[in-house]
Symmetry: C2
Subunit: 223 residues, 2 copies
């Protein structure tokens, strides 16, 4: 299975972001279970891998890393010659091509991720964890996400993918949260399908075989 | 002044992050004023540069970018042969050296930035804007920031800088928010100075000539 290890549950959005990237790059890996319910992510051994006690942690031989987007960039750089070779920008695109991808990876992290994570928590995880839903938090997250998606709708009117004509790490980073929103919430479906360009983009990026494999891994984990 | 333009006010933390990076890399630039008070960042011309209507926007010839951390990585890649050459990891460090920096850039973005921004807003900007301070938001932000700084304190006990023995983009990214916390709030001083390794680290990184220049630019802008 190679020397790459990902520590964490496949249900985690950050873990599945890294798995989708490894599958795009055709890098064999071993997924090491970490039970959040048993607080394994707060154990001393795990904190040696990931000082904040969050998933995923990542190992490639003697390289240990944390933070899913940094791990994804590392995978693209380390395994540059295999699998999808335009995840960090078109070949020969140089610093500008890489940055065109990177600015939308950051947009996902800074603008899309906070409200979509909050909405997924309120609508999907709070009921599963038998926590009380907070209508104000839901409304606030939905309002912020709507504004972000309006920007995406305009941008995707003139661009097949976020960073141009090729699927890239920028698109990939959106898959985990958008999947939860669409697969498990009516509000998410309304937010994404009501925007024509966002819907077209989502249909294309969620059809990647890499992502289908992650969804299958989740289904098996839940079964 | 070269062809690099940064659009935005120097008082913005994200703008000053980019300026510190340009100064480290010895890249000449032109700072183009954008009045947030007059909502210039929501004008059609500005939205063509920055679709979310946020500062900074960045131009290098015909390359236009947004998101401060993506802009900083671009500056390091494009101007690789000049100024500070270890901002994205030690020379010859390869993918692993770059990722060691990048994971702490992400830690800043994901873990340090949200609570420190919230605390700076409550303690510094709300009074200036004559907005009512929210004691719950202040307490929540301070609690989250304390936990993050405890992780930094442990990590910096075994490492001179965040990514090893050299000052890097990971350290640089913390300068703007930490500066506001320390320069303008008692709580921030208490949080940072009470942690020995964090205090030692802050003293070293805030003494960079690049950052002194940004602070001087801010002082002139405020005068």
């Amino acid at each position: 299975m190679g020397s790459v290890k990902v520590y964490g549950p496949v249900m985690s959005t950050a873990v599945s972001r890294v798995l989708a990237c490894l599958l795009e790059k055709e890098v064999p890996f071993h997924l090491v279970p970490v039970s959040l319910a048993k607080a394994h992510h707060k154990s001393p051994d795990f904190l040696n891998l990931q000082p904040f006690g969050q998933v995923p942690a990542f190992q490639d031989g003697d390289v240990t890393l944390f933070e899913s987007r940094a791990i994804c960039r590392y995978i693209c750089d380390k395994f540059v010659g295999q699998g999808n070779q335009s995840l960090m920008g078109p070949e020969g695109g140089g610093a500008a091509g890489r940055a065109a991808v990177d600015q939308w990876v950051e947009a996902e992290a800074q603008s899309f991720n906070p409200p979509s994570t909050a909405l997924v928590f309120q609508l999907v995880f709070a009921p599963k964890m038998r926590l009380k839903q907070d209508p104000n938090a839901t409304r606030d997250a939905e309002g912020r996400l709507r504004k972000v998606l309006d920007v995406y709708e305009r941008h995707l009117g003139g661009s097949r993918f976020l960073a141009g004509e090729e699927f890239s790490l920028a698109d990939l980073c959106h898959l985990p949260n958008a999947h939860y929103l669409l697969a498990e919430t009516d509000r998410g479906q309304q937010l994404l399908w009501s925007r024509r360009n966002v819907a077209r983009w989502w249909e294309e990026i969620s059809g990647r075989p890499s992502w289908a494999k992650v969804v299958e891994m989740r289904r098996n984990a839940a079964a």
